[in-house]
């Protein structure tokens, strides 16, 4: 079976999840992303990416406790799995490998 693919946007979300280890949830990911990318992102896209990656086994989730914030709704925290880290590594290796192959070009 082919290894599950990791889309570009999914990769970004996964990186943020990994970076915010154990404290990543929808809104924090959104903020992190917007800060990094310097553009507006819709939360629905993040939710979709998270669901997909959870299905693929790149992340796993747990619920936080109930607080009076957020209309009494629980947060859902995400952490990267070993499999997810492996996918990230693979992606990173491929990119660096290819990057190294760029000949020295000077742009004046």
């Amino acid at each position: 079976m082919k290894a599950p693919s990791l889309g570009e946007f999914e990769e970004l979300v996964l990186l943020i999840v990994a970076a915010q280890h154990d404290s990543a949830y929808g809104v924090s990911i959104l903020e992190g992303l917007e800060k990094q990318l310097n553009k507006k992102v819709n939360i629905s896209a993040i939710h979709v990416a998270l669901k997909r990656m959870e299905e693929k086994g790149f992340v796993k989730s747990r619920f936080g406790g109930i607080t009076s914030d957020r209309g009494g709704r629980r947060k859902k925290f995400y952490v990267i799995t070993a499999f997810g880290k492996q996918a990230l590594d693979l992606q990173y290796d491929v990119r660096t490998e290819l990057y190294k192959k760029i000949p020295e070009i000077s742009f004046r």
């Binding site: 929808g26 819709n42 629905s44 896209a45 939710h47 957020r70 209309g71 709704r73």
Partner: protein, 876 residues
């Protein structure tokens, strides 16, 4: 303080979102909303709603079926329905097949009816557009008016905004003609010529593709042609400014084309060439002459006109215009006659369907056909629905245990009704799918039957939803009674096995079977009688011989050569006689209207209205008419130009004892009767034969050739060869007299074939039901039958035992149906002056046929039951 997020959006989110995602999604959304509110309060709500909408996608939407009680039940019901359908293949097939046939028939007829109702509904001001109708008490109603009528309407009635005339009389050059385009040698035959005012095209909102309705026909000798003809004659050039010459028209042009129009297909108004009426004067002074009625007159009233008042006011026309004209023509009793005249405003949208009493010589639909067909469709559907009800209730015993058990474990009656309704819906749905396939297969056949070009409007937005809605409705209607009946069983009875096995025929079931057969029998009798009237018409002694007569059109273009042409034809082997005349005893040929008086009585007595046909000396023999007194015309006698041959009717109307030698006054000319012919039919048999004279005339467009040969094809080839010598630039065009005759009764024929198809369908569906019902009865009584056989019953006993019940029902149906059919068909035949008799034989034959079919259907089952060895059935 931050206000709560929009509640409606939140509710929507909670409704559609998967429960296991809701915490996360809703929480995140609210958190973002609050953050957003702190930054830009104005757009926070909008953004919240937008984000909710963005979440409305498959990943987040819950699977509604998984956790809803109703859907689970629905799934279960569908499953049960399917199992029953599969388990009882024959009964299911009959239920569905019958239903599908009924629905397909209904569908086709609905298309037909819809098409008929569409006629002339497209005008933006259709409530303001009328056709003027003249009614003369005791004589009937018609649409022809004098030329100045339109002018008078405008000047005398301020309510009338516009009036326009149409002149489509063949005798003035409308109708068909041989034409030439510009100066080409090629001659074409074309039909659909008419004269029209440009106001008429405006009133009827004719679409102009080139030119416009205000100016197109304002100059003399201008013509407007249809798009179809423009494409035919000017595929590349611009038709505007080209000319057309009409060979058959004394005012034949050249006409300059000033417009191209597109006519609506669903309209009574169907012509291809509109010649202007500007500058047309049929004879000197005709345009102000009130004693000749040739023009159809249409008009448009101002909005909000009181129609009833205007209609009453129109009576002034008689006093102001007609009465003086009649007095001037020497008419006696103008006072009396004026009282009999009235005028009607026929709405343009009524012309196609509501025209039975008004004579206008156009092709019409008939609202009665629309009603009859709708009724037939409805009855076939009812018959099919009854099959459904009967089979479902009859087989109740097989479901009784199921019902009992379900109730015992807690099912309510409502749930059971739901279940049975779902089942009937499944049946009706499958039937609809089958019906749709059937209908599209049968559509070409139905189109030939009905003479229409119908298509299933699959692409229309309303069609499939509409069909689905009807399907749901029918499923519920047909399943309602069985559902109530089946769900009413008491569990204690069913589980004990007390319930009757459904072998007794219940009262309702019998009634329904009687209804089915009554309907079928009425249809069958109606079909028989229509066919009988048709064969009566086709085989009646018409007073002329319509067989082997070829009518060659367009001989007027031969000019003086036509006599030579005629003589050449007479020399051919196989040709018995040849006559040149446009007046032929079939509809659609030349007609006129004239007034005749006895000698010297003009201006003293009311005229006898009749026709005067221009014929030649060969006419009577070519047509095989019967000269009962006097002599035929003689081509060599010049004095015959003032001679007449009259029909018996004319002789009677004139009151002649010895007609030969009497003189008849035709306007100012006196003519001598030299012969009398037997009455012959020259109009539809709906009307009586009217007075008629034959006179010598020439310059006609039709040459009739009477053949007497075995080799018709060979003779026609020879005729064509001669034609080519005379008219190398013109295709020969001919038809057979008997074909043209049959065409006159096409609507009856059509009605007959459609009705017979549908009555066959009705009886098939009814018999399907009977077949299944009897099969079921036999199945229930197998043991009983076996025991009877063992005890010595013969096959005929068994046969009698099983069929007598059904035959009783069929007999009752016949008793009900016969008088009904008699009544309806007597009404229908009342239209015809010359009609067949309603003999008992029709009823006996139809009843016999139905009984035979019923016995065949039920008998098959009983014989099958009687032939099985009893040991097999009793062993189990």
């Amino acid at each position: 303080m931050i206000p709560p997020p929009p509640s409606l959006a939140l509710k929507f989110l909670r409704w559609f979102c998967r429960a296991d995602y809701l915490d996360e999604v809703e929480g995140d959304l609210i958190e973002i909303y609050e953050l957003q509110y702190l930054r830009t309060p104005s757009s926070a709500k909008r953004k919240f709603i937008w984000t909710v909408v963005r979440h409305f996608r498959p990943e987040f939407i819950k699977a509604f079926s998984q956790n809803s009680n109703t859907t689970t039940m629905l799934n279960n019901n569908l499953k049960i329905a399917w199992r029953h359908l599969i388990k009882q293949k024959m009964y299911s097939a009959i239920k569905i097949g019958g239903f599908a046939l009924g629905i397909a028939a209904c569908l086709l007829i609905t298309l037909f009816v819809k098409d008929e109702l569409k006629y002339d509904q497209h005008y933006t001001n259709k409530d303001q557009i009328f056709r003027l109708v003249f009614e003369f008490e005791g004589e009937g109603a018609w649409v022809w008016f004098p030329a100045p009528t339109a002018k008078a309407l405008i000047s005398d009635f301020p309510e009338i905004e516009k009036a326009g005339r149409l002149l489509n009389a063949e005798s003035f050059g409308a109708g068909t003609s041989e034409i030439q385009i510009n100066d080409d040698a090629q001659i074409f035959h074309e039909s659909g010529f008419t004269y029209a005012d440009h106001e008429l095209l405006e009133i009827l909102e004719i679409d102009f593709i080139k030119g416009d309705s205000r100016s197109a026909l304002t100059q003399p000798n201008t013509i407007v042609i249809s798009e179809e003809k423009a494409k035919k004659f000017f595929p590349k050039e611009d038709p505007i400014g080209q000319t057309i010459v009409m060979k058959n028209n004394a005012r034949g042009g050249p006409f300059t084309i000033t417009g191209v129009v597109q006519l609506k297909e669903a309209s009574h108004f169907q012509y291809d060439f509109f010649m202007t009426l500007t500058g047309v004067e049929l004879w000197p002074g005709e345009q102000d002459f009130w004693n000749a009625t040739n023009y159809h007159t249409y008009f448009k009233v101002h909005p909000n006109t009181n129609i009833k008042q205007l209609e009453d006011k129109l009576d002034q026309i008689t006093k102001k215009y007609f009465a003086p004209a009649w007095v001037a023509a020497g008419d006696q009793g103008v006072e009396e006659e004026s009282k009999k005249v009235s005028y009607h405003m026929q709405p343009v949208s009524d012309i196609h369907l509501y025209n039975e009493e008004i004579v206008d010589n156009l092709n019409h639909g008939d609202i009665r056909f629309v009603w009859i067909f709708s009724a037939v469709a409805l009855f076939i559907l009812l018959i099919a629905a009854i099959n459904f009800i009967n089979l479902s209730t009859a087989r109740s015993a097989n479901r009784a245990l199921e019902v009992g058990l379900r109730k015992t474990v807690g099912s309510s009656r409502g749930t059971l009704i739901n279940q049975f309704l779902t089942e009937s819906f499944v049946f009706s749905f499958i039937a609809f799918v089958v019906a749709l396939c059937l209908a599209s297969l049968l559509l070409p056949y139905f189109n030939t039957l009905s003479g229409k070009a119908l298509a299933l409007p699959l692409a229309e937005w309303w069609f499939l939803p509409g069909l689905f809605g009807t399907c749901l409705l029918l499923g519920i209607l047909a399943g309602f009674y069985p559902a109530l009946y089946l769900s009413s069983f008491k569990p204690i009875n069913t589980l004990k096995g007390n319930l009757s096995k459904g072998s007794k025929s219940s009262g309702l079931r019998s009634t329904l079977v009687v209804f089915q057969f009554t309907t079928s029998i009425v249809l069958i009798i109606a079909t028989f009688i229509i066919h009988r009237q048709m064969s009566f018409i086709l085989n009646k002694d018409l007073g002329f011989d319509k067989n082997q007569v070829l009518m060659i059109q367009g001989t007027n273009t031969l000019g003086d050569q036509s006599i030579t042409f005629k003589n050449e034809l007479l020399n051919l082997a196989g040709v018995e006689n040849v006559s040149i005349s446009d007046y032929l005893p079939v509809a659609g040929t030349m007609r006129d209207n004239n007034a005749f008086h006895k000698e010297g009585m003009r201006g003293k007595e009311n005229p006898i209205l009749g026709q005067i046909w221009k014929v030649d000396a060969n006419y009577i023999n070519t047509m095989g008419m019967n000269l009962i007194d006097g002599r035929n015309f003689n081509a060599d006698m010049i004095s015959d130009s003032l001679s007449l041959i009259i029909n018996q009717k004319m002789a009677d109307a004139m009151g002649f004892e010895n007609p030969v030698g009497q003189r008849i006054q035709h306007f100012s000319r006196l003519k001598t009767v030299i012969g009398v012919i037997d009455n012959f039919h020259f109009e539809s048999m709906k009307d009586e034969i009217r007075p008629l004279c034959l006179a010598v005339g020439s310059n006609s467009a039709t040459t009739s050739v009477k053949m007497q040969t075995e080799d018709i094809a060979g003779t026609i080839t020879s005729i064509e060869r001669i034609w080519k010598q005379f008219a190398p630039n013109q295709e020969i065009r001919y038809s057979f007299l008997d074909d043209r005759f049959a065409l006159m009764y096409q609507d009856v024929q059509r009605m007959g074939t459609i009705l017979s198809s549908f009555s066959v369908l009705a009886i098939v569906v009814a018999c399907l039901g009977l077949f299944a019902l009897s099969a079921f009865m036999v199945e229930q009584r197998t043991k009983e039958i076996s025991i009877r056989l063992v005890l010595g019953a013969s096959l005929s006993h068994i046969f009698q035992l099983l069929t007598s019940n059904f035959l009783k029902l069929v007999a009752i149906s016949i008793l009900i149906a016969a008088p009904m059919a008699y009544y309806f068909m007597d009404q229908w035949l009342a239209d015809y002056t010359y009609r067949t008799t309603l003999g008992w034989d029709v009823f006996i034959i139809s009843s016999g046929l139905v009984i035979l079919i019923a016995i065949g259907t039920v008998g098959y089952q009983s014989v099958k039951a009687g032939l099985i060895s009893p040991t097999e059935n009793l062993r189990g």
